[in-house]
């Protein structure tokens, strides 16, 4: 097996999701695991990748690759797959990675399976595990040809830092005309206010059901009492109720705290994919049909304005007793 993992970065750090996939790839048995880092001024990231289990790191370092756009990256990876005889290409899900993976499948006429939560060797074949239909069924999926492309659900694997060094090889960058047609005019820069919610053990999140931005204090107080961080849905971030840095979802942060308390959140797919890997999920929503109840450990049909302050009081009492 010759596996290549797309190592996504933001700023000067490799993303945890990519490193998790790298750790998974290393457990798949025989054959070397290589990573590919693509961007401008990204050579130092190759050494970082080595400490997380890559035996080899391909580096495509070119000014034209500065902006995190998918199409130039497809050109680079397609070339690598052809030149190096790579048979399996793995991606950790993200807005960027999903676009690259799908376009790569078309470019190479390769099979792609996505939203996988695991990949195993079974009877001499690689088998992906894919939850479907609101996770009510797990489908075993495979590939009929090589190369195989897989895109994993966010948070499926933890990175494994083990030290070590890797062979680093520079890749020549030849881009297609249409791949450079789209241009990034303004790139997202994260406002870094306060601690990131990604590592918080407890997250209390608020949605539109709070009724207004002023009611986020209910969420903040409960979070404080539990020693946790505050999260928000895209709807309330869009509405300007709460800062983007706290947004949990497909766009926004992917989190997996021990405890996630969803207050006035309906549980749209956009939100679900960002928090479904949480340990215990508690939801409070006045709509008994809210989808969030389908993936909550404890669902409360009730008014957040009533339930949340009472719960905060109980937690505080416990702390002071």
């Amino acid at each position: 097996m010759s596996t290549l993992v797309f190592l996504e970065h933001h700023g000067d750090e490799l993303l945890k999701g990519s490193l998790g996939v790298l750790a998974k790839a290393a457990t798949l048995g025989e054959g070397d695991v290589a990573g590919v880092v693509i961007g401008s001024g990204v050579r130092p990231l190759a050494d970082a990748a080595a400490t997380f289990g890559a035996a080899k790191v391909y580096v495509a370092d070119d000014e034209q690759l500065e902006a995190p756009l998918p199409q130039p990256r497809v050109d680079v990876i397609a070339q690598l797959v052809r030149d190096k005889g790579i048979d399996t290409v793995l991606f950790g899900n993200s807005v960027l990675a999903a676009d690259i993976a799908a376009a790569l499948a078309a470019r190479l006429d390769a099979g792609i399976n996505w939203d996988l939560v695991d990949l195993v060797q079974q009877d001499g074949k690689l088998v992906g595990k894919r939850p479907a239909l609101q996770d009510s069924v797990y489908v075993d999926v495979g590939w009929t040809t090589e190369p195989r492309i897989a895109l994993f659900r966010s948070g499926s694997f933890d990175p494994n830092e083990q030290g070590g060094s890797a062979e680093v090889e520079d890749v020549q960058v030849v881009l297609e005309d249409f791949s450079t047609a789209a241009r990034m005019v303004d790139q997202a820069h994260e406002e870094s206010e306060g601690p990131s919610i990604e590592d918080a053990p407890v997250i209390v999140a608020g949605g539109r059901g709070l009724g207004g931005p002023e009611n986020f204090t209910l969420v903040e107080e409960l979070a404080k009492a539990l020693g946790g961080a505050v999260g928000a849905t895209r709807a309330v971030v869009d509405a300007g109720w709460y800062p983007y840095a706290t947004q949990v979802g497909q766009t926004g942060k992917t989190v997996a705290p021990k405890l996630y308390i969803a207050c006035g959140i309906s549980g749209a797919i956009q939100h679900k994919v960002g928090m479904q890997s949480s340990g215990v999920i508690v939801a409070i929503n006045k709509d008994t049909n809210a989808p969030i109840f389908e993936f909550s450990d404890l669902g409360v049909v009730g008014d957040v304005h009533e339930v949340v302050p009472k719960l905060t009081e109980l937690v505080k009492q416990r702390k002071s007793s």
Binding site: A106, A110, Y138, V139, A181, A182, A188, V282, G299, V307
Partner: protein, 257 residues
């Protein structure tokens, strides 16, 4: 401006996977995929902003997918093309993107729109594959689109905040559900939809070779359907005034407070 919108019919209500074929059961009443309504809405808005043009719906599916297309026509789209062919059943992403690209080449639209679906739905990443086959620029997760001077300016949201991307036409864009609030068809729109052109084409009409479609044209397969790992007991209670206590007790039992 000519705008093509790729839409999909999805089963209404609870879906199931047919244990025999291991495919999604597409029997029963069909609905327009909710995310695609955002794409149709955006297409109509773009057409209005340029003052002229056409909105063409494109779909791959069984004959009764015409129902979902009629719903989108009732919103205001001008005509619909359904690619319907028994030989296309079981197409995976590689095969579907090939067939759709063939149909889109035939239309030659300035803008191709998709509705952005999230991770756990079928065809969640189709647009990027179609764009690659058409050799066109692609932008996904669009939260706002403006058109001027032969190019689109797209504001989109990623994990890190908002990007602004410019793409010359023709281009492929996947829109997020944050982009607009799809209109409800008016009674006039619903009545008018019945007389709008609805064409059905086969793979042969599009020049799609038999070995590029359906199972033959696919590169992935399904081995087995399994029960999901147990998530533990899930409870749902109504607040009778004691829900806060119930949550607290639950958290205490799990040693989370």
């Amino acid at each position: 401006m000519k705008i093509a919108v790729c839409v999909k019919q999805i089963p209404e209500g609870n879906s199931r996977i047919d244990p025999g074929t291991k495919r999604l059961d597409r029997g029963g009443e069909g609905a327009l995929n909710a995310f695609d309504a955002n794409a149709v809405e955006e297409a109509l808005r773009l057409k209005d902003s340029t003052g002229e043009g056409e909105v063409v719906l494109l779909s791959l599916g069984p004959a009764k997918a015409q129902d979902a297309l009629r719903k989108a026509l009732a919103m205001g789209a001008d005509r619909a093309v359904l690619i319907s062919d028994d030989a296309a059943a079981g197409s995976d992403l590689v095969a579907t993107s090939y067939t759709l690209a063939k149909a889109l080449e035939r239309e030659g639209a300035d803008v191709v729109l998709f509705g952005q679906q999230a991770g756990d739905s079928d065809g969640a990443v189709l647009w990027a594959a179609v764009a690659d086959r058409l050799r066109l620029p692609v932008v996904s997760q669009a939260a706002a689109i403006t058109h001027a001077d032969g190019k689109l300016t797209v504001k989109r949201q990623t994990e890190f905040g908002y990007d602004v991307i410019e793409a010359p036409l023709p281009a492929v864009v996947a829109v997020s559900d944050a982009i607009n609030e799809p209109r409800y068809p008016s009674l006039k729109g619903i009545m008018g939809a019945k007389s709008k052109p609805q064409e059905t084409v086969t793979l042969a009409d599009l020049g799609v070779e038999a070995d590029r479609a359906g199972e033959q044209g696919s590169r992935t397969e399904v081995y087995a359907l399994n029960d999901p790992p147990a998530r533990g007991d899930s409870m749902k209670i109504d607040d009778d005034g004691n829900a806060a206590q119930a949550i607290f007790d639950f958290l205490a039992e799990k040693r989370l407070v």
